[in-house]
C-alpha cells in the first residue's frame, strides 16, 4: 500500500538560469524512487494554491531526487522561495516511465522545460545517445548530460548558443533507431511527423492535472486506443498513438 503524501527535506533550491530552478530533495523511501519519465506531485503549502504541481524526475543520486522547474505561476513562485531544510510534501513516483530496453542509436529531443526527463533518461540508457536540446535563450544543464551522451546538439531561438532556430530544424531522423522526446506539444508533433513511420518515437506528454494519480480525469487525452490519462496511462506514450491537435 502506498503512503500518500510524505514530508521531505529540501537539500538545495538553486536558480540555474533566469526563472529556472534546480530543486533537490531527500526522499527516504524503502521502495524505488522512480524511473526516467515518471513524476512527482509537489506542494509546500496547505490549501492555497489548492492543487499540487507535477514535476518529472530529472535525476536520482542515492536518496536525493532532483527536479527542474520554471517559474510560471503562484505554485512555482512559492517553490522558488524554499530554502535548504524547508519541508516539502511529495507524492510519487507516479505514472509510467520510458522503456529502457532499446537497441541501436538513440536520439533524445527536448524543448524548453521538457528537459528534465531526458536528462535522467540519458543517464539510464545504455545505448549510444545523441542529445538534442532546444532553448529559448539561456542554456542550462548541458554540462551534466555531456558524460552520458555521444553528441549534443543545441539550438536557441535567439541564436546566442548553438544554432539559431528550433531543435526540430536540425534533427535528422534517418540517423537513429529510436527517438524519445519531451517538450512543447508542437515540437513533439513535429518530431513524430519527421520520423513518419520509420522509427519508433516515444513522447512524454504534459497536461493540466489536479490529482496526478488517475482520479480527476482532468489530464485525459485522445489516443488511437481511446481516452487515456496522462498521469496514469502516461506520461510516456508511443508517439503515433497520440492525437496532438485534440
Amino acid at each position: 500500500m502506498k503512503e500518500g503524501y510524505r514530508e521531505v527535506d529540501i537539500s538545495s533550491n538553486t536558480e540555474i538560469a533566469k526563472d529556472i530552478f534546480e530543486l533537490k530533495v531527500q526522499i527516504e523511501f524503502n521502495d524505488s524512487l522512480g524511473d526516467p519519465g515518471q513524476f512527482y506531485m509537489l506542494r509546500s503549502w496547505d490549501f492555497d494554491p489548492l492543487l499540487s504541481r507535477p514535476f518529472s524526475i530529472c535525476n536520482i543520486e542515492g536518496n536525493v531526487v532532483t527536479f527542474l522547474y520554471k517559474i510560471v505561476g503562484r505554485g512555482t513562485n512559492y517553490l522558488s522561495k524554499l530554502k535548504p531544510k524547508d519541508k516539502l510534501k511529495v507524492l510519487g513516483p507516479l505514472g509510467n516511465g520510458f522503456n529502457l530496453n532499446v537497441n541501436g542509436k538513440v536520439a533524445l529531443i527536448s524543448g524548453g522545460i521538457g528537459i528534465p526527463p531526458m536528462i535522467y533518461l540519458a543517464k539510464k540508457l545504455s545505448a549510444e545517445i545523441d542529445f538534442y536540446a532546444g532553448f529559448t535563450n539561456e542554456v542550462y544543464y548541458m554540462h551534466y548530460v555531456q558524460k552520458y551522451v555521444n553528441k549534443i546538439y543545441i539550438t536557441t531561438e535567439d541564436g546566442s548558443t548553438g544554432q539559431k532556430g528550433f531543435i526540430t530544424d536540425i534533427f535528422r531522423p534517418e540517423k537513429y533507431d529510436v527517438v524519445f522526446t519531451c517538450g512543447p506539444s508542437a515540437m513533439m508533433k513535429k518530431v513524430v511527423e519527421k520520423c513518419e513511420n520509420m522509427i519508433p518515437v516515444f513522447v512524454s506528454m504534459e497536461s493540466i492535472m489536479a490529482c496526478g494519480m488517475g482520479a480527476c480525469l482532468g489530464c485525459s487525452i485522445k489516443t488511437k486506443s481511446g481516452m487515456k490519462r496522462v498521469c496514469k496511462g502516461g506520461p510516456v506514450f508511443e508517439g503515433r498513438e497520440v492525437f496532438f491537435d485534440d
Binding site: 500500500m1 502506498k2 503512503e3 500518500g4 503524501y5 490549501f47 492555497d48 494554491p49 489548492l50 492543487l51 499540487s52 507524492l91 493540466i208 492535472m209 489536479a210 490529482c211 494519480m213 488517475g214 482520479a215 480527476c216 480525469l217 482532468g218 489530464c219 485525459s220 485522445k222 481511446g226 481516452m227 496514469k232 485534440d246
Partner: protein, 300 residues
C-alpha cells in the same frame, strides 16, 4: 463508545463519509493508498447510458480557493461499468452508489432499469451536471422539470433513490421539496457551481464550453447554507457536499443538518483525505464526549 453509523433510506453506512462522484473514479486508484472498505460509501463516476469521451480543451483550472472542471462525464457507459467495475466495487465492503446522468428522461429510465438488475446499493440521480450540453443541469434548475425526471425514474427504480441537487436551482428548498414529493428517498447537495474563467492573453474563456463547475473550499459556506435550509424543510436524509477538506468541515455539515457528507475536491489534494476525515470525526466525537452523530445533527 462512539458510533458513527448512519442509516439512509434503509441502507447502513459504517460512517458518514462518502467519496463524491467524479472525484474517486471507481475506487481502484485509491485502493493503492488505503483500504476503501474504510469508506462509509462511494458514489461512482457519473454514468451515462452510452460511453462518453468527455469534453475537449482545458478540463481543469485552478482558481482562488477552488477548482473549476469541465470533464464532461467521461465514463465507460452503464453496461461496461456493470461488467468491468461493479464486481470489483462489490468486493470492497462499502456502500456503492451508482451516480447516473442522462441527456433525456428515457436515458435515465433505461440506465436505472439496467442497474435494477445488479447488486448496486443505491442510485444517485445526477440532474445537475453543469458540463454537458444537453440534459444535466437543465433538469436541475426548475423544480417542475426535476420533479418530472424523478417521477419517471421512481416508477421503475427498485433501489433507494438519492437525487443530487444543483446550486443553480431557482429555489433550492422548493427544488428539494419537489424531488421528495416525486419520490426521492434522500437528497445530496450540492453539485458544482457553474462558473467562468477568462484567459486575458488569449482574450477568450479558459474552457471550450465557456462555463465550468466550481468546487472546493470557496463554495463551502454557500453549500452549507443550502444544506441547512433544505434540512429544515424536508423529512428525508440529506447528504452534504461542497468544499469538505477536513473533519471540521464535515462536522459543520452534520451540525447544519446533514446525515452524511460527500468528499470531492479534497481527494485530489490528498488521496487519503476521506480516511483522515473519518478518523478526525471519530476523534472529535471522542474528545467532545459525543456518542452518536444524531446528538449533533441539525443542532444549528
Amino acid at each position: 463508545m462512539i458510533d458513527t453509523k448512519v442509516n439512509i433510506a434503509g441502507v447502513e453506512f459504517k460512517n458518514p463519509v462518502i467519496a463524491a462522484s467524479g472525484t474517486f473514479g471507481f475506487g481502484r486508484e485509491f485502493l493503492e493508498y488505503f483500504p476503501i472498505s474504510k469508506l462509509g460509501g462511494l458514489s461512482t463516476k457519473g454514468l451515462t447510458l452510452r460511453q462518453r469521451e468527455g469534453n475537449k480543451g482545458v478540463r481543469i483550472h485552478e482558481t482562488t480557493g477552488g477548482i473549476m472542471n469541465s470533464i464532461g462525464l467521461q465514463n465507460p457507459g452503464i453496461d461496461a461499468f456493470i461488467e468491468e467495475e461493479l464486481p470489483f466495487l462489490h468486493s470492497q465492503d462499502t456502500v456503492i452508489i451508482a451516480n447516473v446522468s442522462g441527456n433525456t428522461i428515457e436515458e435515465y429510465v433505461i440506465s436505472v432499469e439496467k442497474l435494477n438488475q445488479t447488486d448496486i446499493d443505491m442510485i444517485e440521480l445526477n440532474i445537475s451536471c453543469p458540463n454537458v450540453k444537453e440534459g444535466g443541469i437543465s433538469f436541475g434548475t426548475k423544480a417542475e422539470i426535476a420533479s418530472n425526471v424523478v417521477t419517471q425514474v421512481r416508477k421503475v427504480c427498485k433501489k433507494p433513490l438519492i437525487v443530487k441537487l444543483s446550486p443553480s436551482a431557482e429555489n433550492i428548498v422548493e427544488m428539494a421539496e419537489s424531488c421528495v414529493e416525486a419520490g426521492a428517498d434522500a437528497l445530496s447537495l450540492v453539485n458544482t457551481f457553474p462558473a467562468l474563467a477568462v484567459d486575458i492573453s488569449k482574450k477568450k474563456a479558459i474552457f471550450d464550453n465557456i462555463t465550468a463547475g466550481l468546487s472546493g473550499p470557496c463554495i463551502k459556506p454557500i453549500a452549507l447554507r443550502m444544506v441547512y435550509e433544505v434540512s429544515k424543510a424536508v423529512d428525508v436524509p440529506i447528504i452534504g457536499i461542497g468544499g469538505i477538506m477536513g473533519y471540521r468541515d464535515a462536522i459543520e455539515y452534520i451540525m447544519a443538518g446533514a446525515w452524511a457528507v460527500q468528499v470531492g475536491t479534497a481527494n485530489f489534494i490528498n488521496p487519503k483525505a476521506c480516511v483522515e476525515i473519518i478518523e478526525g470525526i471519530e476523534e472529535y466525537l471522542q474528545k467532545e464526549g459525543i456518542s452518536t452523530l444524531e446528538e449533533i445533527r441539525g443542532i444549528i
